[in-house]
Amino acid sequence: MSAHLVIQLARFGDLIQTKRLVRGLQTDPNREVHLVVDTGLVQLAMLLYPGVIVHGLPVHASRAEPDSIVRACATLVAAWKAADVTRVYNLNLSAYNHALAGLFAPEQVAGYQWNQGQLVRGRWPEMVFRLSTHRLTNPLNLMDYWGFFLDLPLPPSLVNPPAVAKGGGLGVVLAGRHARRTLPVPILARIIQATAARSTGRIHLLGTMAERGAARALRPLLPAAIQGRLNDLTGRTDWNGLAEVVQDLDLLLTPDTGTMHLAAHLGTPVMAFFLSSAWAFETGPYGEGHLIWQSVEPCVPCLEAVSCSRAVACATSFAHKAVLVRLARETLPNGPALPVPLEGLCLLGTHLDDFGQDLRPLAGELPERDARLAHRELLRSHRLRTTPRRVRLEQAAATALYHETDWMIDMP
């Protein structure tokens, strides 16, 4: 039995996006899989990953005492030493991850390594780092990025079940962690109206205590018949409660959120709205049969840290007639053509192949399609160690992504 440790110190959605890696590790019964997460996510991690030994660290606990932090960390490190960890998957670029990497020899660590105090990005993170400098052409879902920390990753089709409506009504996630990625309440109200006719069940409003105000603001903007179907669960669910609701939904309407990934994890259909800094190719819901409305305004995807000079104009496209008609009539990938052309938006369907997730446009036009395809083909043949299907197409991507250090230093 060899102990493998996954260090995932990011947030809710990232924890679920680690599934291809964690489940991939679990395919070998001779591995004992350890996962360290923020203390607040321990319960969720145990829910998501039965059979995994979950550890908590106070990473996002701003009020923790130094003594408790040191004690928690020391206890954890002792547990890892006792477990005789042989392989580490250090997933995040952060000072925490860097510090924890120092416990292990660089050759033990996939991802971010400690080498005599120097932070070293492994070859794969380094390549993806180069890829992400031009996000529009990045075809790589985060689930696949982390999944490929394993040389033999879990087949994509085994990660999440295909999306199937469950009969439990609609779910609506009111906000994401990033305010700019969240649809304004009036626009969300119009989207709910357009979609409500597709289900006769209840409409569950989902979010934390912070979204209770949004839930209250939403109610009067909806017709009385829809108001009567509302079930405001904001701030009323723990991880188990949230999973139980999402598990049974017909459809989840959501911006780019952790709850969206939870739905994909459970095989619940997602209708996602990606705007501002959110880019569906990177963090879209993983699996077969989800739909994403992606803003394709010229400034998308932007940087969250930089203020928006256009008053988040990308949000307004989601209330266009073309979107609402489509939402009311058809949410399936093979629906009829849109009566009105889309402006500033593209509707994407999620698909899987032997490499991982791919998004196919169902309506609207995606920018940089050829360059993104070239990158994907290159990554596919690179990681699957297979003969290129379209080597000419890959060449330009190879020139950008392969550096001298790869050609001269990488060990096959």
Binding site: S2, Y402, E404, W407
Partner: protein, 446 residues
């Protein structure tokens, strides 16, 4: 028979599996009579490693690594300027940057890469292959077709080989035989398929040598000096000491245990050259290189078990096969053969060395074989070696033999070879260098 001696710069990688192959190529080219300068990239590797230990921002470190490799590439360019080679021969992972390769192309210096890697496992060729004038590979289709699509139209299949001066039969002392000997032996890295396959031989007298094997696991009792890299010299002892050398090609996947691959690894040739008996897995390109009565081939694990039982019981068959295998290597599979093939290809495809006149491959000197002064080109007429008195010329001929240079070698090539000597110079060598300096000053020669 004529040959054209060339000036060749071989560029070794900083480290890795192609490094010894680069050294074998350098030796082979020298023994073929070419003037060879070798860029010793491994001497830079320590400094490169040090960059990874500086405790600086990761982005800064990546930039420094790139800058460092550019500096190494610039050093190679400076060497090219000084040495003026006809050919720059790079081994896989040689530190020639894209910028440097473009510069060499502009300067019309012929470049060739011997890519001794699996194109599926090591995919970076897509960004570099077209920058070389020629690309030698150890696989055939579909790799040839892919290279052609990327505008690399001078690809040549060049399988690996052995250096029979190094990979040779050795008599081992009783102590060495005890240390290195066993019924079964494997030398190589611990790839997943080997890890899984070798578990089936735990009860045998089996020794495993090489690096990248897990320190804890079922194979641990079999590991010899775990984690250590075995030098080529010591590898020869391991090969010679074993009754059966297992030669299972590597795979990054644990299944199937016997990979369905095409190229033949260097160990196959080295074992054969050592007259060491081997059991090798069937490869797509093996039949072109060895007959089944030269190396014993297995196709599956059951066949491997059967073969081990059979050949342990029949030492005379092992000896006969390994003798035939060595003969095959000596006839067809040495690095001299490979370098001859490569240079012939480069001459035919790229006109390599055509600017030089053909000179006799054998004989005391170019002058002695010439029909008259009119037959010689100006360079040869002006060679100061031909103007030496007989006693000095005899001394020079002795030096040429000592340096493993042909008698017809050019003066500049002789000077280059003298500069490469280690330790203090002899009187004659000093005098020849002095002559070279004088010629540069007063005759304006390079």
């Amino acid at each position: 028979m004529t040959a054209t001696p060339l000036r060749i710069l071989t560029v070794l990688p900083l480290y890795g599996g192609s490094l010894p192959i680069g050294r074998y190529c350098t030796r082979a080219l020298r023994s073929l009579g070419h003037t060879v300068e070798c860029f010793e990239a491994p001497e830079f590797h320590g400094a490169f490693r040090a960059l990874k230990e500086q405790r600086i921002a990761a982005d800064r470190m990546v930039a420094l690594e790139n800058s460092f490799l550019q500096l190494v590439a610039q050093t190679i360019l400076a060497k090219v300027e000084h040495f003026e080679p006809d050919l720059v021969l790079a081994l896989a992972q040689a530190p020639l940057s894209r910028q440097a390769l473009q510069r060499l192309r502009r300067d019309k210096v012929t470049t060739a890469m011997w890519f001794v890697e699996d194109y599926q496992v090591f995919p970076y060729w897509k960004a570099f292959a077209r920058l070389y004038d020629a690309f030698a590979v150890i696989q055939k289709e579909p790799f040839f077709g892919l290279l052609e699509e990327l505008d690399q139209r001078n690809a040549i299949y060049l399988p690996l080989a052995a250096d029979p001066d190094i990979h040779c039969p050795r008599k081992l002392s009783a102590v060495e035989q005890r240390r290195y000997g066993s019924d079964l032996s494997f030398l190589g890295a611990g790839y997943p398929n080997r890890l899984a396959a070798f578990r089936q031989f735990l009860s045998q007298d089996f020794k495993i040598w090489g690096n990248d094997w897990p320190s804890h696991g079922p194979l641990t009792p079999l590991l010899q000096r775990p984690g250590e890299r075995i030098s080529p010299e010591e590898a020869v002892k391991v090969f010679n000491a074993a009754k059966i050398n297992l030669n299972l090609h590597s795979s990054v996947k644990a299944e199937p245990l016997i990979p369905d691959g095409d190229f033949v690894n260097p160990r196959t040739f080295e074992l054969a050259s050592c007259k060491a008996f081997q059991l090798v897995d069937r490869r797509g390109l093996l039949a072109d290189l060895f007959m089944d009565d030269e190396v014993a081939v297995f196709e599956d694990m059951e066949g491997l078990h059967d073969a081990i039982r059979h050949y342990l019981a029949h030492p005379e068959e092992r000896q006969a096969m390994s003798r035939r295998a060595r003969e095959r290597v000596l006839h067809e599979h040495t690095y001299q053969h490979r370098m001859t093939t490569l240079l012939t290809f480069l001459r035919e495809r790229l006109g390599l060395g055509q600017e030089q006149k053909q000179i006799p491959a054998q004989g005391p000197s170019a002058l002695a074989n010439a029909q008259g002064p009119g037959d010689l080109d100006p360079d040869q007429r002006q060679s100061p070696l031909d103007e030496l008195s007989p006693d000095l010329r005899a001394q020079v001929d002795g030096l040429l033999r000592d340096l493993n240079l042909r008698p017809s070698v050019g003066f500049d090539d002789l000077i280059w070879a003298i500069r490469q000597r280690q330790g203090t110079l002899s009187e004659l060598e000093t005098a020849l260098l002095f002559l070279d300096a004088w010629r540069k000053q007063y005759l304006g020669e390079r």
